[in-house]
Subunit: 225 residues, 2 copies
């Protein structure tokens, strides 16, 4: 029997990199907040998906106002976040239980496709970990103190979300001590001894962190219609 | 006295990755071929810049037709390319001489700014090499046979063009034997024993290799107006 599927959407950013007082996940993309696009992408995959949304405490009011204006087509459990992404994810995972799978996804990646979400759950059911990744389009160099050297770009992958896991595995993994090098969920699972399986993400699945990213997202979304 | 500045624009692609019979550099961006935008970017930096354009032999006719329809504001010396990018650059360098600097640039990076071109010449005048590079926005993993491991993304840079060099240095560097791992000009200079200096490129300075890239370029170009 298929295992229960959850999504954990992390929307913690403060909008500092993008020159705006509004957190990035609330910026408007084709008339709707970025975060609403992200949530709808998951409900398009499965209308009765179990979704936990982690939000900073001081954005809950803002969120309630936005939901009233832009109703969402599925049920969302809201959890307040912590000081860091690590703590926010840990809190979100605390809201889930049972023998399931969880897709952890950035609130500011609104262009994630149904195919990618589906692939991540299918692969995580087999391998326990399934992390979206893309090949490098450009050459890559490693930098040292005052020199740099060419690396073989075919050996590297840029990491996206969703990062989908066996729920029990990732809950236990998040019991470790937080350190600054744990930049994503895969690195937390890896620190706890698990092998990370990658699958093919998409160049369109961008993370909105700058003003240009929003322009790019508008264009890519427009081209889908 | 300032040294003579050259630009070597390499337009060798065959349009295989983007589903189109037209080579990528000839695709239309805001009503003008991508390559014309690239050339105009260099003439905006300096109207009397010495520019060599390397084109595949079987695209020369196409090029002449395009120039007739879309006149360029500066003088361009056209050189036919070789079988690989390495050979094309080597041929282009053969058209230049004297104690100058040369900015080698992809024909399919039309959004390069005047600031970046200027910075590359200024830095190359001091350090002999100046390569545009950006930090990674995403986590990065290294892949082995059947495993992957998290890397510290702050140690890496994605490499763009322009890659600007002391002309004599890069001409001599291109005398080496071509190997498949020489993916860009910086790796050729490095193989010849030179230290590669990086400078801050721009996320907008994209390389057009897919259909989505063209959509993104249209949007970014539109937002500048």
């Amino acid at each position: 029997m298929a295992r229960k599927e959850h999504a954990l959407i992390v929307a913690g950013g403060k909008g500092t990199r993008i020159r705006s007082s509004l957190p990035k996940q609330f910026l408007t993309l084709h008339g709707k907040p970025v975060l609403m696009h992200t949530l709808e992408a998951f409900f398009r995959y499965s209308p009765d998906l179990s979704v936990v949304l982690v939000l900073p405490e001081d954005e809950l009011k803002k969120w309630e106002g936005l939901v009233a204006k832009h109703p969402i087509s599925g049920k969302v459990v809201v959890q307040t976040g912590g000081q860091t992404r690590f703590q926010s994810v840990r809190r979100g995972l605390g809201r889930l239980s049972g023998d399931g799978l969880v897709a952890i996804h950035d609130g500011v990646r609104p262009l994630v496709s149904t195919d990618i979400i589906g692939a991540s759950f299918r692969l995580a059911a087999v391998h326990k970990t399934a992390v979206a990744a893309v090949r490098l389009k450009e050459s890559i160099r490693m930098t040292d103190q005052d020199t740099t050297r060419a690396m073989d770009r075919s050996s590297f992958r840029l990491i996206q979300t969703p990062q989908t896991f066996d729920l029990d595995l990732i809950q236990r993994a998040y019991e470790i001590q937080e350190t600054p090098d744990l930049t994503d969920d895969a690195s937390v699972a890896e620190r706890s001894g698990h092998t990370i399986s990658l699958f093919e993400g998409s160049y369109e699945n961008i993370k909105i962190t700058t003003a240009e990213d929003l322009i790019v997202a508008e264009a890519l979304l427009g081209s889908r219609k």
